[in-house]
């Protein structure tokens, strides 16, 4: 019997529970091993996503600083530009 267990939702947990009494020891061991691998993957993905988010936040902060710098420059240039236009 090939058992795929998904503990992430109620339906999956109910299905897993219904199998317990009929599982062989080997099938149970494999199911646990797969669950551990799955949990490891979720953790790894979260860490990767957090790293990407941190990197993106850093980039956004950098962009914001650049925008502020440009705005300041514009504030200095615009009055003179308007005078010249007149």
């Amino acid at each position: 019997m090939d058992i795929e267990l998904d503990f992430s939702n109620l339906q999956g947990r109910r299905h897993a529970a219904s199998l317990i009494d009929n599982m062989s020891v080997s099938e149970l061991k494999l199911a646990v091993l797969r669950a551990i691998d799955h949990a490891h993957k979720i953790s790894a993905e979260m860490i990767e996503n957090r790293a990407m988010t941190d990197a993106a936040i850093g980039q956004l902060a950098g962009l914001r600083n650049e925008v502020q710098g440009l705005r300041k420059l514009l504030d200095e240039i615009l009055p003179n530009w308007e005078k010249l236009q007149k």
Binding site: D2, S26, L33, R34, I36, S43, A44, E45, E48
Partner: protein, 528 residues
């Protein structure tokens, strides 16, 4: 670990460094270059502790005295008699008051930014005990070359080779606690000191920049360590002492290329399960056609000296039943487990693991042949270390060239594929050293049962390729090391010209999870 950002080194904290230099009859021009490299440091918070080991050249001591008069940061002393490099270095340590000591030889040079860069890394790693950088050589024509790009912290490799060498910066309190350099280890005094420092759990940072130029001169160890056989002997004793101090069971071997290697012996003989997924493929082995798995099992039986192992063969439905019968009747402690689903290497291995009974698991591809009789005990001994996750051996093609000597992260791929196992490879002689690696091939991999289950085994979402890459990253994510050893060798009859076709899906799968191990690196962390 962080690198200096584009704005330059971080100077929010200013560490005081004590540069320690024993002096004995240096080449005058080289010594002046050394002096210039220290006094031109961008970072000013240093003292330089120089001890003249009773040089016979008349100019040395007057030169040191003059330096101490013109620069208050320079402290000098002259020994009453020649005592050797360790004694002179200890006297220099006696003058030191800085928080960290930096070791500098009297004819070498620091880069201008060396101390600034080291300070930056200390600022970002305030608990660091030891830092080491990359180095290059000052060639005989005065140019710089021969960069040694070092691996990240590799304690197993340090046991074989003082790969850290220059520039080494150590927290002074640790050096003081250990009593400094030991007499009788001249020529390998730095290696001996580092090994004693690393007897305990320390915080270590590798700075992947050249901060030190090591002078190549005739008769120097920078040119050829064999020029100083006493240095090689001292190195051996330093490793032997470390083995005894750490309670390692094993022997120190001559690794060739003037390095030494610790060949461990297991402290117990746990059952080892050798798990072989197979579909009974046949091929030409040593000129004769045979089933790979049968040849492998015969070589295990004929060669192996380990007293307690079982073989678990996970075979595909459709495997030649006569082949299975022959193996079943071989008299070996062998189990056959049928696999009835479409090919999935990972799942077959997991089934083999679940059906096995050993405390140590060795996964083997069926197209292998054992070379080293003590292969099982050597691998089992190395995975005994609780900080080790998995160990892999040297795999050779049938032409005795390297098939795999560990994985490198960027790629990833087999390191040294097609090279001679005696090759200096990238120059650091990685093929003769036990060392940390970024990954191990699933063709032969030893792992403690508890670790294999802790990381969820091979991922069945990777049925063909990169399942070993993924396993390696899971192990490292759990804080365990991957080791490779040349003390165990097997043939791997994989076609030498076969290109492994990894699908984009497999690559994306691994990158999505382990980007910080792969694309997060601009360099290979365990580059040989």
């Amino acid at each position: 670990m962080t690198s200096p950002d584009d704005a330059g080194p971080d100077l929010s904290r200013r560490v005081n460094f004590s540069i320690v230099t024993p002096v004995f009859n240096p080449d005058r021009k080289a010594f002046e270059a050394c002096i210039k490299s220290v006094r031109n440091q961008e970072y000013p918070h240093w003292e330089w502790c120089l001890v003249d080991d009773r040089s016979t050249s008349w100019w040395v001591w007057p030169r040191l005295r003059f330096l101490s008069l013109i620069d208050r940061r320079i402290k000098v002393r002259r020994r009453s008699e020649n005592g050797g490099i360790s004694a002179a270095s200890n006297d220099a340590l006696g003058l030191a008051t800085g928080e960290y000591v930096a070791l500098l030889d009297n004819d070498d040079e620091l880069t201008e930014d060396a101390l600034a860069v080291v300070n930056h890394h200390i600022v970002h790693n305030p608990d660091v005990d030891y830092l080491y950088s990359d180095e290059d050589k000052i060639l005989e024509d005065g140019t710089y070359g021969g960069r040694f790009t070092k691996p990240d912290w590799s304690p197993e490799r340090l046991l074989c080779q003082n790969y850290c060498s220059h520039l080494s910066v150590i927290r002074r309190s640790i050096v003081s606690e250990l009593g400094g350099f030991r007499a009788g280890y001249d020529g390998a005094q730095d290696h001996d000191l580092l090994l004693r420092v690393m007897d305990f759990d320390r915080s270590v940072v590798h700075i992947p920049e050249v901060l030190y130029h090591w002078r190549v001169a005739a008769g120097s160890t920078a040119a050829d360590v064999s020029e100083k056989p006493e240095a090689v002997n001292a190195g051996r004793r330093a490793v032997e002492d470390a083995v005894i101090r750490r309670g390692i069971t094993g022997e120190v071997l001559d690794a060739g290329a003037w390095y030494h290697r610790v060949k461990r012996r297991p402290t117990s003989t746990p059952r080892v399960s050798i798990i072989i997924p197979t579909c009974g493929t046949e091929g030409v082995i040593w000129g004769a056609r045979n089933a790979f798995v049968e040849n492998l099992v015969a070589s295990i039986s004929a060669c192996s000296t380990y007293p307690d192992y079982e073989i678990v063969i996970v075979y595909d439905r459709g495997t030649n039943p006569l082949l299975l019968r022959r193996m079943q009747d071989s008299g070996l402690n062998l189990r056959l487990v049928e696999y009835t689903k479409p090919f999935n290497f990972s799942e077959k291995c997991n089934i083999g693991a679940v059906e096995s009974t050993g405390e140590v698991l060795i996964f083997l591809n069926d197209d292998m042949e054992v070379i080293s009789p003590d292969w099982i005990e050597t691998l089992a001994a190395m995975v005994e270390d609780p900080t080790v996750g998995a160990v892999g051996p040297l795999l050779l093609f049938d032409n005795y060239l390297v098939q795999s000597a560990g994985h490198h992260a960027i790629g990833p791929g087999h390191f040294a594929r097609g090279m001679s196992p005696k090759s200096p490879a990238a120059g650091g002689w990685p093929l003769v050293l036990n060392r940390e690696v970024s990954g191990l091939t699933g063709a032969c991999l030893a792992i403690r049962r508890e670790v294999y289950f802790q990381v969820g085994g091979f991922s069945e979402q990777l049925p063909l390729n990169y399942n070993d890459v993924d396993l390696g990253y899971k192990i490292q994510a759990d804080g365990l090391r991957l080791l490779w050893t040349p003390d165990v060798a097997l043939f791997h009859f994989e076609s030498k010209s076969r290109e492994i076709e990894v699908s984009d899906e497999e690559k994306d799968f691994v990158r999505r999870l382990w980007g910080r191990f792969i694309s997060g690196y601009s360099r290979e962390p365990f580059v040989p």
